[in-house]
Every structure is written in C-alpha cells, then in structure tokens.
C-alpha cells in the first residue's frame, strides 16, 4: 500500500520527465530507423565515413582528457576547500564559482586572448626570451581541452566539496590513530568515500564536454571539429535532419555507455558507495 502511494505521488513528476525529456529523444532516435534505405542505413553511413569516425574518436578523446584533468584539479581544490576554516572556505567557494557567472562564449573567448598569436602567453614567453617565434596554440585539440577544463572545473569542485565535507573527521582521526600515514588515510579512507562525488562530477563533465558546441567552435574550428559542431552543421546547413539525428543517437548511446562504465568502476573502488 505504501509502495502504491509512493508511485502515485511520483507519477506527475515521472510523467513530466517522460513527456518533456525522454520522448523527444526517443522521437529523434526513431527517425533514424525509418529511412527508405533501411533501419540501419544511416548508422552504416555514419560509421562508414572516415571523417565522422575521426570526429567521434576526437570527441571521446577530448572529453575523457577534460574529465580526467578536471577530476584531478577539482579533487585537489575541493579537498583544500573542504578542510579550510569557515571564512576561507566561503571565499574559496565564491572564487571557484565566480567563472560560472559569465557565459560559456565569454569564458571561451578569454582563451582566445590568452592563447592567441599576439596573446598574453605568447607575449610573455617572447618577452622572457623563452621562445623566438609565437607558438601556434589556438585551433588545436590542446586549446579546446584547456578551455573545457576551465569551463568544467568549477562544476567538479562544487560537486566534490559537499561530498568531502560529509566525510566525518572522526574517520580520518581514527585512521591516523590506528597508525595509517596521511597517504594511506587518503587512499583508503578519503578517496573511496569520495567516489560517489567523483562519479557524479565525472559524468557531468564528460557529458558536458561530449555535447559542447561553443568552445570547440571558437577554439578548435573546423580543424578540431567535434560531434556537437558536426551535428549543428548537418541540421542547420545541410538540412539533413536524419544525419543530425543519427549523430545525436550515437552521442546518447556513447554517453550512456560511458556512464555505465564509470558506475562499474566506482562500484569496484567502493562497493558500498554506489
């Protein structure tokens, strides 16, 4: 009876989610199987194209690199923030969240100024005599990864601070009192307990990177085309909505696969946490 009441209470929200989130995605995917060429012809065309495979592989690489770097930076920062006294913690959190107050385009544009031929970094290196000629940093995969890490690290920090704060000090002290060194305490107590936050953060960053459009467009252009840019091109320029839907479907499947993989890894790291 209790269970039935729970379902009843949850049904309006479930209905909203299904109608506004799940059905549009399903409708998009269904169109890819109803083409005159047969149910899988659009997928055959997608995976048959060397260029599209390159774009897919590049998108996975960039997203994974962004996720790993954001995890490392985000975890270290969140750890420091969570162990800081109250007033400093507030200042650090505000500083971490500050970039989120501006738009993605503005934050990506900032990197154009930093990494450009006449940008801050090249000018500094030239003035210091480290380089003789400006380095080509823009419109490379590296530039896209740097900008995306900058975009997503605040999100990672916010996700992890709450998780790290929730780890009781007693556990850390107990570990120390039982003779564990700080490294051992970190590896065997703190890190496993932070796994749920790491997984949530990693999923958020990976999916955000995997589907991003503005940053790859601005800092990578055609040379570093990613799935979002390719999908936009197919939908808005070539007007091939079936090809765009196929790209969307491939992105959905890969995102789900990566999330499942991460969950599995998390379960291995900490069977209790996930």
């Amino acid at each position: 009876m209790k269970r039935f009441a729970g379902w009843t209470l949850a049904s309006p929200a479930t209905l909203l989610v299904v109608v506004f989130l799940v059905l549009p995605v399903l409708a998009t995917i269904v169109t890819t199987f109803t083409t005159p060429g047969g149910p899988f012809s659009t997928y055959a065309a997608f995976f048959g194209s060397g260029f599209r495979r390159t774009v897919l592989w590049r998108t996975i690489q960039v997203s994974l690199a962004t996720t790993v770097i954001a995890l490392v930076i985000g975890f270290l920062t969140a750890y420091v923030v969570s162990r800081s006294p109250g007033w400093l913690k507030s200042i650090l959190i505000v500083a971490a969240v500050f970039p989120l107050l501006t738009g993605v385009v503005v934050r990506s544009f900032a990197w154009l100024i930093i990494l450009g031929k006449n940008g801050i970094l090249n000018t500094t290196l030239l003035n210091l005599g480290v380089i003789g000629e400006p380095l080509t940093m823009l419109y490379t995969q590296g530039a896209v990864i740097i900008a995306m890490v900058y975009l997503f690290v605040p999100l990672m920090i916010l996700t992890l601070v709450g998780v790290l704060e929730a780890i009781p000090d007693d556990l850390i002290q107990a570990s120390a009192s039982l003779g564990a060194k700080p490294t051992a305490t970190f590896m065997q107590v703190t890190l496993p307990l932070a796994v749920p936050g790491l997984i949530v953060g990693a999923v958020l960053v990976f999916t955000g990177s995997f589907t991003s459009y503005a940053t790859p467009q601005l800092l990578g252009g055609e040379q570093v085309m990613m799935m979002g840019t390719l999908m936009y091109q197919q939908a808005m320029v070539v007007f091939d909505w079936v090809a765009a839907s196929t790209i969307a479907a491939v992105m959905v499947v890969i995102t789900i696969a990566i999330v499942l993989l991460m969950t599995r890894v998390a379960r291995r790291l900490n069977p209790m946490a996930v």
Binding site: S49, G50, F51, T54, V55, L112, I113, G116, K117, N118, G119, T136, L138, Y139, Q217, L218, G221, E222, Q223, V224, M225, L230, Q233, A235, M236, V237, V238, F239, D240
Partner: protein, 344 residues
C-alpha cells in the same frame, strides 16, 4: 452630374485610403530577419511602416540556416516576410517554402537594378547587393593581392582565413579552387578539392561568422581573408591597414532577398512592406546610415558614403553571378569533402 460622380469617387477614395490603416488595425506582420542594426531599422523602416499600415510588427531572428529550418518545420507558415541571403532563399524556393511574387503589387520594382528585380525566377526581389572578395592587411602583405589565384601564394602561408563551407561564401571557395585548377567545380569536384587541399597550408582557421573573422584580424592571427564587403568597415575599424583587393577577375555578387512564405498570414501587408523597403527614400536612408547597400538606381551617395558599398552601375555590372541551383545541389557532397580536408 459628372462633377457629382467625381466628387463621390474622390470621397470614396479618401474614405478607403483613410480606412486602410483602420482595416489593418489588429493585424500583425511577422518578419524573419537577422536582427542586426535593429535600432536603425526601427527608425528608418519599421516606424514609417507601422504608421502606414497601423499594424503590429513582430520578429523572428537568427542566422539564415536556423530561420529557414524554422520555416521549413512549420511548412512555410509563421512568417510573412523572410529575409535571406540568396543561397539560402534558393534552398527555400527549392523546398517550396516561398510563394511567387506578383510584380504588379510592387511598383518600386521598376526603380531597382535589373539584377535585383527577379534574381530567382519569379520569387522575391533583392533589397540589397553585396560582393564576396578578398581583404588583406596591406601592412603585412606587401605584394598586393590582385587575383583570386593569389590566395595560393607562398607568402600567405599560415595567414589566411576562409569562410567555412557552411557560410554563404564558403562554397564559392570551392568554385574558385576549381578555377585555379582549371576545372569546373560542378563537373569535376575532385579537381576543385585538389585546389582546396593545396590552399590548406595558407589557412589558419576558417570562420563561420563575420565577427569571428574580424577578431582573427584584430588579434593578428590572420592577414588575409575571403570576405563579404559588409564586414569591411568593421575590419578597418579594428585594423586600419586592411584593404579590399581589386581582383582582376572581379568579385562575386551576393544578393539579400525578401520573400513571402507560402503560409504567410498577411501577404498583402508583406507586399506593402517589401514595396516600402525598395522605395528610393528608404534605400537612400539605409545606405547613408550604413545599414545596407542600395539596389534602387536613384540613390545617390557621396564617395565617402559609397566607399564601403557595392554601389554604382559599373561596379554591379562587373560582378560575377553564382548558379545557386547547381551550388545547392552540390553543397551536401562538398560539405563532406571540405570537412575531410580541414577536419581530419
């Protein structure tokens, strides 16, 4: 009796004319356009038209592709006047989204250049004309660029930006690459793309919007680009040494057209609006205030005012035209081939 009849006729005509705004009261004209120069267009075009029609005006804004997609999804409905560059309006025509124009309802057509009156076989006229050519920073490119073939010069290595294949001017690069290789891009895409491939070492980044290209100039990333002339003023504001190349083969004409979609709710208002924007008075003001180049032959500009525009019968007569039917048919395949060169 005759006098009475004439008076009655005059009174009726006056009543009809004065009733015209009242009849349009409560009506709404929906315009799909880019959204640039909103304040100037409000003052020069919209306010006078609102006064003339007594109607409301609402807008749909966005780039060509986004807006054409919306009209296509609505099967030609939702908009009464649609502004598009000619490559996109041609796609709309081919998709059956625009209705044929009745020239009798546009008296101001008679006053515009022949080129602009009926550029796409019975559909909307062009209200402005531009050109695609080459701009370069004369402080960095010391040997002037005088031909499309100069794009392949070695001294332009890693200093060029091309319009992306998804922009209005992008497919024109393929055509020019074909000419450089001595082939027709439509008949021999392999040959044309060999020319594009050969151009790649000179390319820093391809741009998708005019502002992106201006940024590339202002940050020193590039010193030459294929561009549309409406961007020249802004580029020169950022980098004064940038000049428009005088190309021996001539620049390429680009027309911005206005069409009435098949599902337009207020086609008569749309005709009135299109007629207004083709009028000498409006065209003169738009050109003087830096909004659009004029197509009305009676517009007269000072050399300073005309400097940025595709202006004057001689210049317009020297422009190259594009066969957009052929180009749009080839575009899908060209996009993939272009991506393979620049995106691999």
């Amino acid at each position: 009796m005759k006098k009475l009849a004439a008076t009655a006729l005059a009174l009726s005509a006056t009543a009809l004319l004065s009733a015209a705004p009242a009849m349009a009261q409560g009506k709404t004209l929906t315009i799909s356009w880019w959204g640039f120069n909103g304040e100037k267009l409000e003052a020069i075009v919209l306010a006078p038209f609102r006064e003339q029609c007594g109607c409301e005006i609402v807008f749909e804004t966005g780039n060509n592709g986004e807006r054409l997609n919306k009209i296509q999804i609505r099967n030609g409905a939702g908009v009464d006047v649609a502004y598009f560059s000619d490559s996109f309006s041609q796609q709309g025509i081919e998709a059956g989204l625009f209705q044929k124009i009745d020239p009798a309802k546009l008296p101001n057509l008679a006053g515009i250049y022949e080129l602009a009156r009926d550029p796409q076989g019975g559909y909307g006229p062009a209200y402005t004309i531009g050109r695609v050519g080459i701009v370069y920073d004369s402080a960095k490119v010391t040997t002037p660029i005088a031909s499309w073939n100069d794009l392949w010069r070695e001294d332009l290595a890693a200093s060029l930006s091309l319009p992306g294949i998804t922009t209005t001017a992008g497919p024109m690069v393929v055509m020019k690459a074909g000419e450089h290789q001595g082939v027709d891009a439509f008949a021999d895409a392999d040959g044309a793309f060999a020319g594009v491939e050969a151009l790649k070492p000179n390319v820093v980044k391809n741009y998708n919007t005019g502002s992106e290209m201006i940024n590339l100039f202002s940050t020193g990333e590039i010193s030459a680009a294929i561009a549309q002339d409406f961007t020249l003023g802004q580029i020169q504001a950022a980098v004064p040494s940038v000049v428009w190349a005088e190309l021996g083969e001539g620049s390429i004409a680009t027309l911005n057209t206005v069409n009435i979609p098949t599902g337009a709710a207020e086609p008569e208002l749309a005709y009135q609006f299109i007629n207004l924007i083709l009028s000498p008075e409006i065209q003169q003001q738009l050109a003087e205030q830096g909004v659009d180049a004029p197509v009305n032959t009676s517009v007269t500009l000072t050399p300073e005012q005309a400097a940025l525009w595709t202006y004057g019968a001689d210049l317009i007569a020297g422009l190259q035209r594009i066969d957009y039917v052929k180009m749009n048919a080839a575009k899908s395949g060209w996009v993939d081939r272009w991506n393979e060169i620049f995106g691999m």
